[in-house]
């Protein structure tokens, strides 16, 4: 145990640990921000993983074809949107089960991306770092947050944007209403399933962008194991955050830190701490948090319940 705490101390003073943590937290945050909107509208969007993976693959394709990172990011958003369109229309236009559709999409996109990567082998690279003048000189955290690959900086406007969308626009109010009480929303003239579809489209765009971001900020070269379950961790972060934006951000930061531990601990020479336990920590923490707080935290009342007019 003492070993663990000395490792903790070492990590707290290692700059690269912060860099890793910020990069890992940001990809979770992109996805989780999208997922939060979908869950507020009443969908547990399991296909988040597929959206991210499709996003990063298409980003690689975009760069491979045109050489421009911007086109790559555009492709990423489009790919996320396509996955979202399948998910949304099958589960909220046709009455297919949302979990089934999500699971199938995860399998399908993973297979498709793996298949296409083998035959195309897209070339792409890590984007350059852009440093913000004064802020990047803050010790430890400064370089991680403000001397980062430039694609990271999109996360700073995204979080307030999601807050504004959800809590300060009519659309956001309707989204939340649809997630809380679809029948009442329907009676008051909202198009429940259309709003839910729109929420999923938003999720797809943001998560796809997140996938593209991760390719350009961390990996450089696309592999089909790039996302590797981060979509599920992002879903966990939303739940861990109790379906609030603040909580979601906190969850992503925490899971990002844990992810960075996993990466940094071996390089600091701590071989005795098994990485498996760190890798599973986000999930275990989320489950425990849910078990402890589930009675206090309130999920959107109609979460995961499909809406079909006339059924209950």
């Amino acid at each position: 145990m003492g070993n663990f705490f000395s490792a903790l101390g070492d990590i707290a003073t290692t700059e690269s640990a912060y860099r890793n943590a910020v990069i890992a937290a940001a990809v979770l945050l992109f996805a989780a921000c999208g997922e939060l909107v979908a869950e507020k509208a009443g969908t547990i969007n399991i296909s988040l993983e597929a959206m991210m993976l499709a996003g990063s693959f298409s980003a690689a394709i975009g760069v491979h074809l045109t050489g421009s990172t911007w086109v790559g990011l555009l492709f990423a958003m489009l790919a996320g949107l396509i996955v979202a369109a399948i998910q949304a229309n099958m589960s909220h236009r046709l009455p297919a089960d949302q979990f089934v559709v999500g699971l199938v999409l995860n399998v399908l996109v993973l297979g498709l991306v793996g298949f296409l990567t083998g035959s195309i082998q897209p070339k792409s690279g890590v984007v350059r770092r852009v440093s913000v003048p004064v802020l990047s000189r803050i010790p430890l955290l400064g370089p991680a947050l403000f001397d980062a690959p430039w694609v990271l900086y999109f996360i700073f406007p995204l979080v307030p944007l999601v807050w504004w969308l959800l809590y300060r626009t009519r659309w956001g109010l309707e989204i939340r209403a649809v997630g809380e009480d679809p029948n009442a929303s329907d009676v008051s003239g909202l198009h429940v399933n259309r709003l839910r579809r729109q929420a999923i489209y938003f999720t797809g765009i943001v998560a796809g962008f997140g996938g593209g971001y991760f390719l350009f900020a961390r990996a450089g070269k696309f592999e089909d194991s790039l996302i590797g379950g981060r979509g599920f961790i992002a879903i966990a972060a939303v739940i861990f955050g109790g379906w609030t934006l603040k909580g979601t951000v906190a969850g992503c930061v925490m899971f990002g830190l844990v992810g960075s531990f996993v990466l940094t601990i071996p390089s600091l020479g701590y071989k005795s701490i098994d990485s498996s336990f760190l890798a599973m920590a986000p999930n275990v923490i989320t489950i425990i948090a849910m078990a402890v707080f589930a009675k206090r935290v309130r999920q959107p009342a109609a979460l995961a319940r499909p809406f079909i007019r006339g059924l209950k």
Binding site: P95, A96, V107
Partner: protein
């Protein structure tokens, strides 16, 4: 907090209960068949386009998949062996879906089951068959524990079981990874394995599931066990009071409560059964011999849990359809083994499988929507 148990699992509520229309019976059947055929054709065509676009030959791919799964001598035995665990997972999934619970962590439950089986199967001393049975029982216990945690959290702490099962899948995978790094747990002693290979000790010859040969095809007898269990599940779920109570719980938890169904007992029970089947699937994967060399490796699950889950969902919780779907999914896996000769990546089988599942989800949904529309227009003209 909202009561999760009231959630509609759409699968249980679809066309069977869709409003009755006055269409002729023959016309309706023809419509269903045409829809299914069109959807499946589109799915296969999409996969074919995918192959052609990357420079492969789609006819070669489909021929190779058929050869690899059924046509070539000895292959359908292998396919049966691969299908058995898929079927077992699907059977468990049918039980929990009937109770209105969504378990999507079968992969994790399967892995824990296989770990328990491997540990007992290697450590326990005794006559082979006895060790084998005990190992399988421990596999069942392992899977049941993993699903039971989710069930208990659902009924005692109101934590949605969808999320816990999903999250515990990753935990299981990491636990196995940890076990495979420690000789005191699962890792084989250094003498018997290549250096740095993270594998468990193979089961001894007499603790493996016996294999039989029919018509030149060899498969483990666990296939027969899986089919027997399918019949048992059908009897219990479709033909018994317990099954009726489960269905009642799934379709309307309030009615179930008022007619005296103990929600906790039946709900957690359904989760335990579901996990047991996944755990047993892990056990027979280990001891059956169609998945590697009777030992655990890092990616031991190879998506069988997900395949079983999908099989149950595609079969829409009907046991005998699930047998058929599991076999088709098994074909996808064994068929992809023959793809290397065609120069097309084996991953195409995942694509085909995913597209097929999507295609199979569409017809019931479309039929439901259309039946509803007809009913609505019928009522509006009457008024």
């Amino acid at each position: 907090m909202a009561d999760v148990g009231e959630r509609e699992t759409l699968d249980t509520e679809q066309p069977d209960e869709a409003p009755v229309t006055k269409q002729s019976r023959f016309g309706a059947t023809a419509e269903v068949i045409v829809l299914y055929v069109v959807c499946l054709f589109v799915a296969l065509a999409l996969a074919a386009i995918c192959v052609s676009a990357t420079g492969g030959s789609w006819s070669n791919v489909y021929t190779a998949m058929l050869d690899g799964s059924i046509r070539k001598p000895g292959r359908w035995g292998l396919t049966l062996g691969v299908s058995a665990p898929i079927l077992l997972v699907a059977l468990g999934t049918i039980v929990n879906s009937r109770a209105g619970l969504v378990n999507i962590g079968q992969e994790g439950q399967l892995i824990i089951g296989s770990c328990f089986s491997a540990y007992i199967g290697v450590r326990l001393a005794g006559p082979g068959p006895f060790v084998l049975v005990v190992a399988m029982i421990f596999g069942i216990i392992g899977g049941a524990i993993w699903a039971g945690i989710a069930g208990a959290l659902r009924y005692y702490r109101n934590v949605p079981e969808v999320l816990t099962t999903l999250l515990m899948g990753t935990v299981a995978l990491n636990l196995m990874g940890w076990g495979l790094r420690n000789t005191s747990l699962l890792l084989a002693p250094a003498a018997g394995r290549a250096n740095r290979n993270q594998v468990s000790e193979p089961l001894a010859h007499d603790t493996r599931i016996p294999r039989v040969t029919w018509f030149g095809n060899e498969f483990p007898i666990s296939v027969l066990l899986a089919i027997a269990l399918a019949v048992l599940v059908w009897l219990v779920v479709d033909r018994s009071i317990v099954g009726f109570r489960l269905r009642m719980l799934g379709s309307n938890a309030k009615t179930a409560h008022r007619s005296g169904v103990n929600e906790r007992r039946y709900g957690i029970g359904a989760m335990l059964v579901s996990g047991s089947f996944a755990g047993l699937a892990g056990g027979i994967m280990l001891a059956g011999g169609d998945f590697g060399n009777y030992q655990l490796v890092a990616n031991f699950g190879v998506g069988i849990g997900f395949a079983g889950l999908l099989a149950a969902l595609v079969a829409r919780q009907r046991v005998f359809v699930a047998i058929f779907v599991s076999f088709i999914f098994g074909c996808m896996r064994t068929g992809s083994g023959f793809l290397r000769a065609t120069g097309v990546s084996g991953r195409i089988s995942d694509v085909v499988q995913g597209l097929l599942v999507l295609a199979l989800l569409l017809p019931p949904a479309i039929l439901y929507v259309r039946a509803r529309r007809r009913a609505l227009s019928a009522t509006s003209t009457r008024v």
